[in-house]
Amino acid sequence: MSSVIPREALQHLELRLQGAIVGPLEEAGFFEEIEGRELSALSQEFGDRKLLNYLLEALHDWGYIYLAGTKVYRTAKRPEVPPVVGDDVEDFMVVPSKVFSRLYEAVKDGKRPFHVSSPENRALFYRFMDSRFLKMMLLEGLRRLGLSSIPRGAVVADLSFHMGVVTGIIAMETEAAVVAVDPSQDMLDLARERLNAQGLLRDNISFIRSAPERVRQAVSSAGHSVIHLAVVAEKLNWIRDPILLLKNAASVLAPGGRGRERGYIGILQSVWDDPIMRGYSLATYLMGSDISPRRSDVDKWLRASGLRYKVEGRGPMFMARAWR
């Protein structure tokens, strides 16, 4: 299946993200600070070592720094400005441009000033998840994972949520019953308002206050016993125990047989291995997530959950169907 997102747009996005990261670091004197320094010494001086390590890895792989032994040096490469950037890329860049303006501060001081747990940052994260580009990626991924084929009588559990952005996509793509799960009543109300404002609210959409890992209780609260699709989109880097989430979701999947389709988990996840998703991953990290997992982490979690799975796509997001 060909992608609805032009490859050129993805390349432009990658260049814009690199520029949004490297520019503020240059202004803050980051490259002078790390020039010729030992990696071990740097990790002692920066407040967020994890962010530092991933940032250095990204800068290295993008060609902005190189290693001589264990010392770091700047290359001659400077951010490239893409010749033409589409509206969707600019729309996506609204939030990364803001959060990367304080990237140096985050890595140096170990604080994340745009963490979504602060109410004043809600709008920022919502706007990020709501960007046309990201919604296109989510929509395309969820279609590949069979969302549009889920029939009216089936049940879809949205374990991703993301302030209702994913729920909105599900509500647009299928008439199946939807169980949207999130621990915050405030966020559930926000999602309900969103669907209401978009004319997508209907009786078979339930908003259940629960940790997504407690999926069985959530589904039961909504009056269902099984689910036909559990959507886990961009969630594995937002929860403490991905294996628990996957195991518990698998335990509520509809069994197959006698002409019935078996239920499955649709996993759509940015992975650190994909160069385009690195800037995206660093942006979401600054807003409160973990760094996107590596592809091998997702494989490991799926195996540890006792699930069988089929990979449906590898770029820019990892997509898989998983079942018991």
Binding site: V94, Y126, R127, D186, L188, L190, R194, N196, A197, Q198
Partner: protein, 109 residues
Amino acid sequence: MVLVTCPICGKRHDVSPSPGWNFVLCDVDHGVTVFVDGRGNVREVHGTKLAERGARLRFVPGMDDLAPTWIDVDRIRLVLDGTIPPSEEDEAAVRVLLRLGIVRYEEVE
């Protein structure tokens, strides 16, 4: 749900007790803005006129570029100014903007 009385016309409304600012339309020219604390208690109830004079809901300066892409910001500005009557979808959009802190309640003399 909690029952609140509109300070402008006295009509009663059921309002979601979820924390933060909530807005419910009362009539074509005004609504009720309610602040609910973290325990679900109603702390503030304001009559909110959607009119050119005495408007009470305003976009927070510098935040309008963070408005969700599916919300027609120009239309909501006209709604808040009382230029056009709000539809049910507009009302929901205003509540979303309030919850996100993009629109806020303002006392106006």
